[in-house]
Symmetry: C2
Subunit: 239 residues, 2 copies
DNA sequence: TCAAAAGTGTTATGATTACACCCATGA
DNA sequence: TCATGGGTGTAATCATAACACTTTTGA
């Protein structure tokens, strides 16, 4: 993590096994109670102590950038094989006040059910925030978060990446709430279910919800194999 | 340009006013004779002499990355206010054989009518290639080109960026050929014209083609102001 | 029996597709 | 007059949107 390597007050780099002019910052999205959330880190030391920012770190000299982002994510969450995509590089000359550092933004989509089992950070250091209700972030992290949201909204229409935010088994209403939360729109339940079922991307698990105080809904899962077979000539997730 | 700063044989950086671990590489697209083209540079010195690659260069210490990309583009083409967007960072540890250098990819769309007037490079150094018929490129530039094509195909459906490749005045068939070239599909002429005209994005110039050996077509222009007014709730350029 | 969400049905409207066909112009 | 592309018409099909309605379940 950043604090172990850079002196946050002088901006000097204290470890020469990394590339000193580039960092990685990662927007980690989760979905809970029909809300899109983001995992933020509270800075423990330095002049920015107590302020919130995106999790990030350095790239090792012999390490690819995707690999570095995966490593950081694994250090932070304890999870492997997380959905992770690069956003872009952010490089305003004044984005980091103690020196010229370009950062490469990533965003990850995680299934909060898995995350809760073994979080790598204590609650005081890392915390989930609703994306609609985040504190002011350090450096240009607000800009990176903003961009990642737009990117998520674009990508979720091009490919079925949203499923990475859901548990393996989910109901159609959960799926609809997910799209509503990401795209910030309201949808029609009957039309949504027909549209999605017509795509033939969901596998009916012949199971039902349990312990709900209303009619139990069917559970589905997303089958990536089926998707790959169907996706010869592009797919559309417009809503 | 790169050759002025880096020793291509040793990989040593001979200029300390730049960030030595990051470069910029730019895919410049043009459109001519119903073909999508890309501008490549022939390396004049070093061990890669004679091979083709993307135009690129260094980022100055006090310079933002978008600004650096714009500067490079202007040095190369003599044009200002070109459409330019970042692709992403490319950072495989072995992408550049003489050291660990991460590159930030950009792509630009230029109107070839304007470019031909005042090219910054001589014909032996810079040359247009059809994207369907490019030579093997140095380093990871084939990967960057490949990615930029996909990105162009995605972006052209989300926003009317394709117009940057056309002359200011164009016919509907030219526009259709552009979409066909970018997306690699065949389209139906009557349906295309109706669909595009229905969007109300084109301004009828009340002018006609000249010197064509068939019925002269109406000329249109794209009005970005109109687009911005219409684009409150997103637009769709699916074909 | 009520609330809450699951799930089905129906209809109007509009977009898309796949054509056939006529028009204008220079060679 | 022919080739070339410009441009209009039309009908079948499909997707979408809006909303009324029935079903299931636990409290």
């Amino acid at each position: 993590m950043k604090k172990a390597i850079i002196n946050d007050e002088t901006g000097e780099v204290e470890n020469t096994s990394v590339i000193s002019s580039i960092t990685i910052d990662c927007v980690i999205f989760g979905f809970q109670n029909a809300h899109l959330e983001v995992l933020l880190i509270k800075h423990a030391v330095g002049i920015r102590k107590g302020e919130w920012g995106l999790p990030g770190g350095w790239i090792k000299k012999e390490e690819g950038i995707d690999k570095a982002a995966n490593r950081l994510l694994q250090e932070l969450t304890g999870l492997e094989n997380i959905f992770l995509e690069q956003l872009k590089a952010f490089g305003n000359p004044d984005r980091f006040p103690m020196g010229r550092i370009i950062t490469i933004g990533y965003y990850a989509l995680i299934n909060r059910e898995k995350y809760n089992v073994k979080a790598g950070f204590t609650a005081s250091e890392a915390q989930w925030f609703k994306v609609s209700d985040t504190p002011n972030l350090i450096y240009d992290h607000d800009e990176i978060l903003q961009y990642s949201l737009q990117q998520l909204q674009r990508r979720v229409r091009q490919a079925p990446i949203g499923f990475n935010l859901l548990p393996e088994k989910f109901t159609l209403l959960q799926l609809m709430k997910l799209y509503e939360a990401i795209l910030g729109v309201e949808m029609d339940k009957p039309n949504f279910r027909r549209k999605f079922l017509r795509m033939k991307l969901l596998v009916d698990l012949n199971e039902k919800e349990k312990d709900v105080s209303h009619r139990a809904a069917k559970l589905y899962k997303f089958d990536n194999q089926v998707y790959k077979q169907l996706t010869k000539k592009g797919f559309n997730f417009e809503f």
